[in-house]
Symmetry: D2
Subunit: 351 residues, 4 copies
């Protein structure tokens, strides 16, 4: 299912792509800092409708061309456009950029519906351009380490995992906490499990604003009974970014905010035996050492930005390609329906 | 709704009730230790079908009469019987004890169905006996402190709460993690909110044993949009007993395993304002001091056992009376249905 | 130097020693509980001058003979006496017990001076009796695990270690925090390093009581530049029992109060190289995995009490024998002198 | 004693001082970033002897003039020079800058001896220039909050404090851990206590390099028995920056690396009473709430740099002036002597 994006770009590939950024709000400055530091590209343009933000961008990046609108930026001599604007604008801006012949990196979520996401994939394919989505945790060394553990079978059979990503703040006015925060957790789950859920359940509630959920509890039902439970909120006393994976042989805790080792591997499990005397099930715990592996200190966003540039230069799809973006949007759509109807919503096997 | 159990016991009230315990397995020894230490009762009898356990009980409590069966114990000269046996035996044993004219404290859950719980309430009422359930967290100083905060309006409007109670071990053979662990969280929620949920959602999965859920995610939907989310599991790398309450003015974290202060009160919140210029919603965070109140060091189980004895002596219902037990069982029943059908299950307003 | 106590006891060895306890205050009840639970001895007598404590002891141990004085207990038919009284009474009571032909386990510190400790060793040797001191951390699985690491060379060359043992409370009226608390840390250091310090420095201060230090900072200077720094206090906001060991290849943290693994092994270090170009020293850090080993859950005090009983039954010295007690007292004596004079005090090579 | 630096600068005061930085190694980039961001000054020059570092500086600050030597920079048209070079060069560079008529901010320690520090004070006074030292923790909101608590008497009588500042790394080749790390702790102690110690003790050891201590335990003896104990090391498995203050009425913990509240105020203490019956001392603990105050999020280094600029513009001494630098150097000198002789070293009352 995780099929590669079909071949891209048959023009002569740009050796040092010229990159422009649309949106210099919360996340845009981080993207700017990274593209500025990557030698294999030229970071040359920033657009933001807010004059104060644009001025701030100009102070930090004096050699960069500033544009008051995305349209103006897209008309410039650029190979690639990075879109870090509110979620509801992603589709239109990405489509415009693709239609202008640019390679595109869009912040998550890729779009607000599967139909939009599919249209972007089609537009990118038609013009042989890279389409990428900012699923930054797929580039996180801790997540990649855990994927290696799963692939190597270290955890045995994976039973379930759960994730909490909560904080006070970053309250959105246009999308709920599901669409704002959960794309991270969903993309990690799909990346780790390499399959789509067969069904999705969700509960949530709206406190600050009558129309948008501030807190959502989401359950993804994967084949073979594997569960992934996700709790997202922007209304919580503490900042938490924590995931636990429970396998038949080992278990893993991943705390993205830990000072001393984000990943802990627990040699813990339960073995079911049958009591020879009574024929009854018996459960025997084992509990051994805990290991905290040393992880590389690379900044995940840097690796993500580099993957975008390399994909452009080599004419290959990036890890977090349009199909990856579509899959996450499809899960978000199903979750939104589940949130509204209170029932578990099935997902069709076709993406 | 939290109506008091109707008047109990018109016989001459025992001034120093004679107490017997059925079940000396995992929890029974804690009950024995506490009843032994309460001056206002006499702890005089222990029954267990396992001869090893019974011998162990005899070593620790040399003056106590030992019985190989619950029936034998119930025939003895006792005022009260405490039942700490597997959950599926609670109903029959409690009913037998009530019919033998004993006051009864049953471990949670009170019974395996609302019908059973109602039958126990009726039996207790008919014979004017105390019927109590071991909802020990209602006697926990931290929970009571939080209830006082809620009652005094310190948190403002309560938005939602969530609870995690997970560990590795205590895997049950006869009931799933919902019925085994969640009675604690549900009883705390009902105690704090003083109302019943209007609907219940639940997801879970069975890994160790094809018929019993090892992990359950439960959402209680209360009137006015208040949510309570509960995560229970006996298949987790870490022991966690943590609850968070989010109010409009303050937020509370309750970590039952914390060394230095189980309760933290966060002066944190989000205020929604309307931007005068644009008419748009705006959210302003406030984040002030954190307070960790000093709590009494009383053992919750001691307070619970004392409430049982005092209820007997004074002819009044205890806090965790049969109705309380029924309410928790009713929520468990609805949750079990939700778990099986994947839909949010409504609860009728009548208990 | 760590020479074994010379052979003990040529009488027929008691197969199930009869044990009496003097002192049922803070620590005595823990000793009672353990000796009561050891099948290879008979716990038969308790003495305490305080009638309330004695009554409490009688309630818990109904079969045990109670004595209002240590003298009365020592006249009873006992093989062994355990002394858990204020430190300043240890010497006289232990001597009396040895002179009455009893095997003796004394709480730490063994005595208030080297001369006293030597007199006890001599008395035990003359009568071929076991003399043991309650250095309970030498029986702690975490400490023993660390000793195994050191012995196996896992840490490389041990550079230094430091220990903090502070809390609020257990303020003594008769001895300072050095004599009250530091025996634990000193006994651990001598046990781990298997040698005596060559010099001792100490600073402290008296706040609650003009004559007794509430807080002491102690430095033991071992051969080859190995340092052990110890911080003890009964006037601190937090309870801490933490030790760090720094070796040339690995480092260890030991937190006796940690919930999830008391010992952490850090694959960390600094390698000094010489820059080939400039001839200058250069330091290269390495920082690898952290391992948290699973330790046995045995109660250290149980292992200590069993060592006492086995030593009596087998006619061999226990691990924490009189010489071990003397070594700790000798370090305390030197530290007390250092505390008073403000200078580093040398210790003679003879114990 | 904490006498203000006598009046400075009678020239027309620069309204927007032109600032140059010498040293772009470990700490220099942080100073550059802050001076660059302060509107009341012009950050115009950077010198570093290492061409790679200088090139890096040029990339980040394109409008800034680059100099290969401190001498060249000092000859430029500057009002102020900031010195972030190895400690042993501080004196000569600061003196040269003052003699060139510049205002000077030197990283800690101000100099390597009291004599040098006094010479710098004299040179600054002679030319009416600001002389400041980078005691950044005096500008830390947590330290200032604690000072306010002390001033307001919230802690009652201050008994003692202790500080640990350890990590793996930043091993120096030219100065030991005392001179490299302890200036922070010493400056905080002097700032909080507003007096000089009367004596200093110190122990340490050299493991990586035969001539420089990697770990130092330092005790400052203040009037009235107040102790300050400081543990510094660059050879430790964990990064710790923690200070505890124990008062007669309350206690404070300050963890500079805590995520959720750096300062904790414990309503804890011990009250000594005399037992009316026996005339004996008795100690009664009290243990109340813990409070974690909300602190401003200002970057301490920003406040420090602003104090330097404002001091220049207003012709007044900064908080961390030359006298402050001298006091810390005087304590370091005494500590170095104590380290070498193993005895407690008295400090003369004159600074």
């Amino acid at each position: 299912m995780m099929n590669a994006q079909s071949s891209v770009t048959r023009d002569p590939l740009p050796t040092r792509p010229r990159v422009g950024l649309v949106g210099f709000g919360y996340w845009g400055p981080n993207l700017a800092r990274n593209f500025q530091a990557i030698p294999d590209c030229e970071f040359v343009a920033i657009a933001d409708a807010d004059p104060m933000r644009l001025a701030k961008a100009g102070e930090l990046y004096r050699h960069v061309q500033l544009y008051p609108t995305a349209e103006a930026l897209m008309a410039a001599d650029l190979d690639a456009v990075v879109i870090a604007t509110p979620a509801r604008t992603h589709y239109a801006l990405a489509l415009a950029a693709l239609e202008a012949g640019k390679h595109v990196l869009v912040e998550k979520p890729l779009a607000m519906s599967s139909a939009e996401a599919q249209a972007l994939i089609a537009a990118a394919a038609a013009r042989q351009r890279v389409l990428m989505v900012g699923h930054v945790f797929e580039y996180n060394p801790a997540v990649r380490y855990i994927k290696d553990l799963l692939t190597a079978g270290v955890l045995g059979e994976l039973y379930y995992l759960y994730s909490r990503r909560v904080n006070l703040g970053r309250v959105q006015n246009d999308i709920n906490a599901l669409w704002s925060i959960a794309p991270h957790d969903i993309s990690v789950c799909l990346y780790l499990l390499e399959q789509m859920p067969v069904a999705v359940s969700a509960q949530g509630a709206r406190y600050l604003n009558g129309t948008l959920e501030d807190v959502v509890f989401l359950t993804l039902h994967f084949p073979n009974g594997v569960l992934a439970h996700i709790h997202v909120s922007w209304l919580d006393p503490s900042k938490v970014r924590h995931m636990t994976l429970v396998g038949s042989r080992k278990m893993v805790s991943y705390d993205d905010l830990a000072d001393e080792g984000k990943v802990k591997i627990y040699d813990k499990g339960v073995i079911r035996t049958t009591d020879p005397q009574y024929g009854e099930y018996q459960y025997r715990l084992h509990s051994g050492d805990i290991t905290i592996p040393k992880l590389p200190l690379t900044e995940p966003l840097r690796v993500e930005c580099e993957d975008f540039i390399t994909a452009i230069r080599e004419g290959r799809p990036p890890l977090a390609d349009g199909h990856d973006g579509l899959r996450v949007v499809a899960v978000l759509e199903a979750a939104q329906r589940a949130l509204e109807c209170g029932e578990t919503v099935s997902m069709s096997p076709a993406e």
